[in-house]
Point group: C2
Chain length 432, copies 2
């Protein structure tokens, strides 16, 4: 393909959906990407740019001929342009804004004045609004007349009062099937709710998911209708939030497969640095028992098992807690019930693994007391792991820190320190 | 509230959305829940049942008066009934099916014949289909006439050929704004794609997210239209898939805050058991070097640091890889590029932390060679962690095993074994 056969490449890209073209560009390496853009730049339209990973957007925009870029940008709805330009550098942002028609440019610039990650950035300004006294027939006539200026996708007609405050909405299905003489207000849906323009996009996505919304009106401080958010935007946010949670839990910040070595190294570094500090803390605990270990080297062989089991049990509780906080299932009213459950689960699994490991310890090293020591340390560490796994994320959340980001480091520190200490201190007391 | 004040409870629940009532029931404990159901059972409608966590559904259904339950079930669309009954025990399932009208009952039973997690379980049978020769006016007249029997929510009119094969679809917005004389086929949307009834629900959700679908026709083996899937169903699946991934990565199977101690213990047990085996493997490696440790106890103090850093770096790579596989961003065409990147990232971070840890080792124990040993072991383990973190999930995926479920155990085994071995073997060779 990269042999410079322009027509063949054009044919190959032609039937692909813009999302698939974007994926294709993400998967080839940088040199090939440039060649493809050079040969088939005209296949890159606004939708492909929207779908591209942020990291690659700048690169692709830089290599696209100006006329292709301008054309691509003009095709997009304003909310997609906002999404496209918000992370670009000033120079590229300016170039794209220049390509827009004046009205669109103003709309995009206004959207950019709302804080990042707010409903204002997510919404599109194109909405269909109707006065409260309208009948179904009025609304249908209005839609037929304004055909050209309708949003590309819309699912509701919003009904507003004279001050533009949304009162309710009517689905297009109801509009189509009702009699022309029915007042719009007779067809209002129960699911109606408005979204404040400054609301966090995470809460917007939660509302869409929780209340099964398809579209919702966005209102300003005065309660006036200024735009709408549709479910596909909310689905995109939900997807990003999940991605963020899962990556943060693993100690990887924002990241993407398209990142280069240096960026990736930088993203991974902070968590590894935190882990080094916590690992050294655990080592300091071990160092307190150097003499005990010197007299009984089996302890050095077995101690990582206690710490590792605690770390795993802690990660389990922690992940369940972080998820429950994200989905708002964990609240002050049930937190103590969950804490009690985690402690009991830790105790139960602790006892089971204590017996198993105790037996293994005895068989392996032939010292019954060693089996008892590792068993007791295991129980202690699994109970502590269960408690830490739930209490640490809840506490972080209360201090306004994202529990997905920071909990892991705290929980494994606790389980390492407790695991090594319980095992070695007990061994020192009992075996020597 | 639980003081038996029936009216007050009714007033409190009245303004709540069914999803919020379900959340409320999930957050109180079992005894309170029964009391609430006893006092305000009539507030529990079909939507509340749909929103409830699976674990609690059986309990709530059991305690609801039969007439309330029957009423609740009859309100629901067939796809929601399928979702409600598919995990219930036979007896409860039968009771709910009995409450349905005959036509609905047949539809639900038919849906249950499709495999679990397939498009057939997700779809609703109510669709709006139009023959290919229809004009906009025909479609609108048809919608007006069949008002009563229309699906509660729909966004497209599907156009089918005489054999019921879907040819394209028209959005309701276009239908409302176009002239009555326009043929439906002039208004077809580009986004149109059909979904085979046996397609995995995960792939359905992927298609909705990737191609920004709102609704899509479901076809049987012969390509005939048999139902439709809407974006809110797909959003639900996406949410569940994410939940599954995040919990599986942490070694927690399906789980919910409503589970009891025994279920939770059982869910957590298998992964802890796997971890015990891998931890023992690592201990066997340490056991090979008992004499070395006995002569130089500082090794026992420092060895967990090397293993822990490797485990963390491995988890980072692994999580990125698992996500990329789930979003289909990692494919045979770019896997080697990503592997090379992970190795380089491991090398870079490895060298940085090797220097840091080497210096700490020297300062702490006053033995320059110990600093060199821990540094080299750190580099080796971080490179191996990067490689294992990407190659293990890719290999598991190729063998048809969910990488989210199994990768963690393999990766930490590799980093523990390599970490302990590299550090202790090198130390044995150099220091003694």
């Amino acid at each position: 393909v990269a042999a410079g056969d322009k027509e063949r490449l054009g044919e190959l890209l032609e039937p692909l959906h813009s999302a698939d073209i974007a994926d294709f560009l993400e998967q080839v390496d940088s040199a090939h990407r440039r060649e493809i853009l050079f040969l088939a730049g005209n296949k890159i339209d606004g939708d492909v740019l929207s779908e591209l990973d942020e990291v690659l957007r700048e690169e692709v925009i830089e290599f696209l001929p100006k006329e292709v870029l301008d054309e691509a940008v003009r095709e997009l709805e304003t909310d997609d342009v906002v999404d496209l330009v918000e992370d670009l550098e000033d120079e590229q942002q300016e170039a794209i804004l220049d390509a827009l028609e004046d009205a669109d440019r103003v709309a995009v610039e206004q959207a950019l004045t709302y804080p990042e990650f707010s409903a204002g950035r997510l919404m599109q300004r194109e909405v269909v609004a109707a006065p409260e006294h309208w009948l179904v027939g009025d609304a249908i006539d209005y839609l037929r007349e304004t055909e050209e200026d309708l949003p590309e996708q819309f699912y509701h007609v919003f009904v507003v009062d004279p001050k533009m405050a949304p009162l309710g909405y009517v689905t297009l299905g109801k509009l189509l099937s009702a009699k022309r003489s029915t007042p719009l207000s007779d067809l209002f849906e129960d699911s109606f709710r408005t979204i404040p323009v400054l609301q966090d996009e995470e809460d917007v996505a939660y509302a869409f998911n929780q209340y099964h919304l398809i579209s919702a009106p966005v209102v300003d401080d005065g309660g006036r209708l200024i735009g709408m958010i549709t479910i596909d935007d909310a689905m995109g946010v939900l997807d990003e939030e999940h991605e963020e949670d899962i990556l943060r839990l693993a100690g990887v910040g924002e990241s993407s497969l398209s990142d280069r070595v240096i960026e990736t190294t930088k993203q991974r570094f902070p968590w590894l640095a935190v882990n080094l500090v916590t690992a050294i803390l655990a080592s300091l605990v071990i160092a307190q028992f150097e003499e005990t270990i010197a007299q009984f080297v089996a302890l050095a062989v077995l101690m990582p098992i206690v710490a590792s089991m605690g770390g795993n049990a802690g990660t389990q509780s922690l992940t369940v807690a972080v998820r429950a906080i994200a989905t708002k299932d964990l609240s002050p009213s049930n937190v103590w019930r969950v804490v009690r459950r985690e402690a009991l689960v830790g105790l139960t699994n602790g006892v089971i693994f204590a017996v198993v490991m105790g037996v293994i310890g005895v068989l392996w090293f032939g010292t019954p007391m060693l089996g008892v020591v590792i068993g007791v340390a295991m129980v202690v560490n699994l109970v502590v792991a269960g408690l830490a796994g739930i209490l640490i994320p809840v506490a972080l959340e209360r201090f306004g820190i994202d529990p997905a980001l920071a909990s892991g480091a705290f929980v494994t520190t606790v389980t390492d320190v407790v695991g090594f200490f319980a095992f070695l201190a007990l061994a020192g007391a009992v075996l020597l």
